[in-house]
Symmetry: C2
Subunit: 392 residues, 2 copies
Amino acid sequence: MSVKYAKRMDYIKGSAIRELLKLTEQPEIISFAGGLPAPELFPIEEMKEVCVRVLDTDGKAALQYSPTEGYMPLRKIIAERMKKSGVEISPEHILITSGSQQGLDFCGKVFLDEGDTVICESPSYLGALNAFKSYLPKFVEVEMDKDGMKMDELEKALQANPNAKFIYTIPDFQNPSGITMSVERRKKLVELAVKYNVPVVEDNPYGELRFEGERLPAIKHFDTEGMVIFLGTFSKIFSPGLRVGWVAASPEIVRKYVLVKQGADLQSNSMAQREAAAFVQMFDLDAHINKIIEVYRKRRDLMIETMEKEFPEGFTFTYPNGGLFTWVEMPEGVDAAEVLKKALEEKVAFVPGGSFYPNGGNENHCRLNYSCMPEDKIVEGITRLGKVFKKL
Amino acid sequence: MSVKYAKRMDYIKGSAIRELLKLTEQPEIISFAGGLPAPELFPIEEMKEVCVRVLDTDGKAALQYSPTEGYMPLRKIIAERMKKSGVEISPEHILITSGSQQGLDFCGKVFLDEGDTVICESPSYLGALNAFKSYLPKFVEVEMDKDGMKMDELEKALQANPNAKFIYTIPDFQNPSGITMSVERRKKLVELAVKYNVPVVEDNPYGELRFEGERLPAIKHFDTEGMVIFLGTFSKIFSPGLRVGWVAASPEIVRKYVLVKQGADLQSNSMAQREAAAFVQMFDLDAHINKIIEVYRKRRDLMIETMEKEFPEGFTFTYPNGGLFTWVEMPEGVDAAEVLKKALEEKVAFVPGGSFYPNGGNENHCRLNYSCMPEDKIVEGITRLGKVFKKL
């Protein structure tokens, strides 16, 4: 029997890369392919206290159905924390999602009809592109430099694509490039969004993981017209396994997301939402984040240092001021997917860059993650990778 | 500013009924409107042990990202438990979802293009209809009698709708009608699915909550061709707040659901999946289910008894052998939404039936839930409702 699927299923396919990367789960492989937080930093002991507290004080509600919008004390905590990036928003305009991946899927569901345009950075986050693909859009990529998306290019894209439904950006320590958008461009981006009446989706999973310098105001900080949809998450600062993220947007827009969530999964885990709130109330989340920053900064430093030493000429890379990734450009004509095969022979892995470009091309890039590998393995893995590169 | 949403947002709307039902959250109202499990039966003390055990033995994995397919020991437990309803399926063909609501949404995403047909029971579960609506289908309703969907009517619907993508059914203690599909019809349903090459979505959240008689084989029990997609959940037998459900289907079909889940939310909560598994390993889930059955059976009995005594002539209702709901038919021409307004004046609430019919009509029905109201309130609430009915 062969049943008939929806057309979108022709575009949502397993990737050869993903199959290849399954190999990286073997323990002898040093993998820079993932995007995982360091598990040794998870607050396991604290979580035991948190769980018992939640069940003791609010057990029935924690195990019961709860409102689609999310647990109000958590929404208040999030609204309060968003002030740090200059965003003043009422808790009522925050929807709790099952990780920010769900927020990305909902962006597609709320805005995209088949053939609509999504404007995104080039490269952009693979998981977002895949989520949007379910809704059969076209992608228009906007080039970046060291200050993020080029605003003149963005304006051209907006002019050329009157059916653009939103502009997707990761302004802080972008995945995959590690690039941070400058303050000037954030301001300009909101101006353009208003001028062309196209909302901005500001995906910000890494903003709190800044290794040096001052935290920049969120794009949403400049949003006076309700044109910015902010996606946040506890995945990188607390625990991804709990799947607690959020959408913060204007009342009109967040209402649409709530309606979509009702159909999608009714609500996020009642207990996990209470656990996140209780953790913030019982412990010092900022101190925990600082601990993460210390560890990741060292790992970033060591990776960059080793790359400078071990990578041959013609291989350049970005210097991220935070987040989880650096982005390597190999010489023109090199195919990173082929390089990966050779790297796997040397027991080291990365993600080839091609799939971060929705319209293809740019196969001579790769993404390296430094957050979840101990320091000795970073040195060893990058050294191996340098050898592979030198042989090309 | 007014941004442009996707076309589907014209069909996903907040309902007037939902707004009205917000009133039922006031403590003085006796509400038969919800579909909640009884919170006083939640295993809160056991959950404290479960959480500590999971964090002690597997804390890093519980807080980390995990595979989209779900936690393998949980998938094994589910495969084992499904044998009770005659389903032999390998754990590899089970995908863990965030409640079975997510499974419903994925059915839409995997199968439906705009204008495709969904065949469903008349009436059918509101939350499923809403999930499917995101994908802009047409609905064809098939009449039921006391043995469920009428198979001759179903065959006519299949013949008349060659673009039907799936048949949606809740065979056990249907929401909203409380009706159970007979074994003969289950067999026949699979035959028709194969004959017309249209898969069956078997949504079974209540099957384990049977108050009397033998558990019937699942529709999937008769599925030799991989045409039945089974949706299950821990929500009604353990905890809805944890959002742990599953899809069990043929390897080809479940693979599509996995791809869709990658984009939708990457994975379900790693910790909740381990909690569900640990609960089953550490405690006796069947004994827990028996406790729930005892309580619900008493409530069902009391509700039916009181309805028999207090409802006036011309008001009929179903006798459910399990599950959470009974379904009331009022005299032709009565509008249950109007009756609800009068009921709320008497501080009693229910869900008017109209919205369970995707193509409208049948406003003279209402759904009553007996699972989450204590016995004295059932008697008091049904008595009040009887008064409202008598005044009509």
